[in-house]
Symmetry: C2
């Protein structure tokens, strides 16, 4: 067996932990370092050595691929171009609107340093994007739908927790089943945000807080909730922790297209995830494998899942893939 | 706009017609010739000129990609290596067990002639294979299920029509819904052929034929029906033509995997097709686009969908794909 691919994990929150887990299970990968902005002495990993992000450069010869597991998109805009100075990288940058400018920034930095960077490689953006591309390329005349959930949306949970009187809370994004069914049955009718998704909140109120006002403030919050049918459930902290501490998510990409008059072809891709970060971490780890192969062939700059021959995501040889999976 | 990619269609049955249709709708493709083994004067296309397969070589400078739309697998084993002497090619060779040897034969011929050949690029093998690969690469610990149907199986229909006393008939392969549900819910239990699919036949009997014997002969036919729950319905020729002359198909690839103890992640890909040949033709046409790009970069030999950067299947630029679909 060839030498293992040495993986750095840049950031050690939920996603970083998931990458460590996935990389340690893969026979061809070896997590060799976790980079942290905290004091390295305070970070307890599952076994991977810890170093300060400030010392990243010292690892440039000891790491093959750095997986950027930063928190917010704002962080990542700094982290991505910086890490690619020292390593080939993978990330799951997920602010769709900013992808073109992030791609350009990482591409420039990667070309300058001679590294390769795969950006936005989780499930959306990532696998969902890949399926939007495939479905549209094969069925050019049609309509693509993306449904998210049922699952916990971090951004909406953050928005709830900023409401006055809220002590804690989570938000589930739930696709409207009639809309999903219509899409699966080939409907091309445009639907509003409200017709496609609903939002369900579980909120722990501060003692003595005005529940009616909390509900009103959430339900009418612009951008986050006002355009959706939103339900607010008040629960105890104990119930919140017992029932809502997981991070499930998922969704579906559906495209219906016509190849000729009256001939409907429906393409569906779906994920049902008990753990959003663990799945995203698994996509990142497969992506790291592909970046390693492409970088070894001399490719530099920024790429996405659109640019990767799928075989490179697998640890199997071309011959194994053709005989076992084709 | 760049010059259109010139497409040859090698064989003009249902699949060849579908490729002509899909290629003429695509703005970047131009179907320039149909090759036939019949007398070219007897072949009526939707507008594409017709030539004899014997004259293929004369078209080598006038065609970019030849799409092989041969009938049986046996034909294709001859057609694939022959066509790639003159053109870069695409096909949907679908005898899974013979793929490694077919790949080797086409690869050798393609390398000798300096062309590129993408084999087995329909939906199964093809898109289903791609999803089996992606799901396994991302979720290495788990189980992959492939369900086919509801849809018409040509091979099983042929088998019915060989039974004594049968004038005509079709066969639908139908996934067992309990099995699909179990897979979608993360079951890893092994199921028998009978537990996964059932078979429903619509048969037109010859006048005076022994219906009991026909049913017995079908239901007990080894390989094709004996291992399944099979229902035989006798209908009139008129009803057969009215209700069963379409070529619907589809199916699902489902993989459930664990990323850690108790954390199930379920990956599902599905197709629901009103026309199997029209969809396969659409995949072949997108594949032709990708082969054209890769051949222009100097790649030769045989490849599969595993080896193709997905962006090349689309007519859009990388920038368009990133801003619109990522």
């Amino acid at each position: 067996m060839a030498e293992k691919i040495r993986i750095a994990i840049n950031g050690y929150g939920n996603l970083g932990k998931a990458v460590e887990l996935a990389a340690s299970k893969a026979e061809d990968l070896d997590p060799v370092v976790v980079f942290t902005r905290r004091d390295p002495a305070t970070v307890r990993t599952a076994g991977t050595p810890v170093a300060s992000v400030a010392d990243m450069e010292k690892w440039s010869e000891k790491v093959d691929i750095c997986v950027n597991c930063g928190g917010s998109a704002t962080d990542m805009e700094q982290v991505g171009p910086r890490a690619v100075q020292f390593f080939s990288t993978v990330d799951s940058f997920d602010t769709h609107a900013k992808i073109p400018q992030y791609f350009a920034a990482v591409d420039a930095a990667a070309k300058k340093s001679g590294h390769l960077a795969m950006i936005s490689s989780g499930w959306d953006p990532g696998l969902f994007s890949l399926n939007r591309l495939l479905a549209e390329a094969i069925l050019p005349q049609g309509k693509t739908w993306t449904f998210w959930g049922p699952g916990i949306s971090q951004g909406h949970g953050d928005a709830i927790r900023r409401v006055e009187g809220v002590a804690a809370g989570v938000q589930y994004t739930i696709p409207v089943s009639e809309a999903v069914e219509a899409a699966q049955n080939g409907s091309r009718e445009d639907l509003s945000a409200r017709q496609m998704h609903r939002r369900v909140c579980y909120v722990v109120a501060e003692e003595g807080a005005d529940l009616k006002k909390i509900e009103h403030d959430i339900v009418n919050m612009p951008n986050y909730f006002a355009d959706y049918d939103t339900t607010v459930n008040f629960i105890s902290r104990e119930e919140l922790e017992r029932k809502h501490s997981g991070m499930p998510h998922g969704g579906q990409v559906i495209r219906s297209g016509n190849t000729s008059e009256g001939i409907d072809q429906v393409y569906t891709f779906g994920l049902k995830l008990d753990s959003n970060p663990e799945f995203t971490g698994s996509v990142l780890v497969a992506s790291a494998r592909a970046v390693h192969t492409l970088a070894a062939k001399g490719q530099t700059g920024a790429i996405t899942i659109f640019d990767v021959p799928p075989a490179y995501l697998s640890a199997k040889t071309g011959q194994q893939l053709r005989s076992q999976l084709l």
